[in-house]
Amino acid sequence: MLLLAIDTATPFVSVALGDAGAVRCEVRLGTGRRHAEQLAPAIRYLCGECGVGLDQLAAVAVGTGPGLFTGLRVGVTTAKVMAQALRIPVVGIPSLDLVAWPLRSSRRMVVAVLDARRREVFHARYRPVPGGLQRDGDYTVGSPADLVGDLEAAGEDVLLAGDGVAAHAEAFARLEHAEHAGAEFAAPSAAALVELATRRVELEEFEPPWELAPMYLRASDAEIDWERVRAGAR
């Protein structure tokens, strides 16, 4: 079964072709914030070099964030459109899961941390369990200092992964009992996306394309109080 995997939650544009749950070919562009320009050409190049026609794809998978706002919109929209046009299933996997999954053999708690800009990070914690990882708590957005404080209070050995760790190195340096998994684990893993999404497709756990949405975590329903703002401007 051939699966196209897309992740655009970080400055990277990552596309991979999965075959029976493993990566056959992978393209990763790290030029930063050019998702809209690069994603479609990257898919065309990947499929072309692999000699795979779009009609051979059995499913499309996408990292749903949290992550870069524009990147997520480009990636999720592309995945949805391809699924609908090709009449194949689409599977969304949270990008923090894709950061944590390669570290599932760790005996420690894994904390996936992606840079959220504006001095914040997206994060989630995972506990190793037989056969994989189990998320412990919600996907969260907050300051690195708050996350460090919570982890300090928990006092457990942790393994940190994701680009948010290096981006906020000062905050995380305070943390004892913590190891940083390093640059290799900074971005959501294409191999993890292929593996986790293939399982979901095999179990027929996919969602209708129109229901798939990025996880922004920063959604705000608040109305702008223009009366107050205009009064303040006087």
Binding site: T70, R119, Y216, R218, A219, A222, I224, D225
Partner: protein, 175 residues
Amino acid sequence: MTAGAAREVVVTSRSPADTRAAGRAVGALLEPGDVVVLDGQLGAGKTVFAKGVADGLGVEETVVSPTFTLAREYLGRVRLVHVDVYRLDRVQEFLDLGLEDLAGDDAVTLVEWGEAVAAELPVEHLEVRLALPPPASDGDGAFEPDEERELTVRFQGPRWLRRAEAVRETLTGAV
């Protein structure tokens, strides 16, 4: 000098040309990643100040109000992203602009009516407030178009506080 005074500079602009010169002075100091927030009622001169900032950044294209397009981009010494939130009703619509991707660390961002979305602005920013003078109180009823504006610049965040002296010098020299 009190702490409050260190955090802000107040200058008086006597004309749109003054306001533009103040903008130009600020623009000349701006670096990639900087965010400038402009507030002040309609007609206070926010767009005039923005034009000055663009001058200071070496933008040659004419800067127009982005009210209806929400965001406009200009190429200068540093890329300038000019945003106006005046047409927005919900905070979500501001988030939907995806400003951190649109502008990012390699551009200067100018936000008009930024106070409306204050909670979503980065901690580090330069706040510029333009205020019209209070109505004349001498009671003779004569109407005189008053072009005077009080221009308050506040330094938000430690990085801007460190640059306060340079901004103060250039502003008081310009207006």
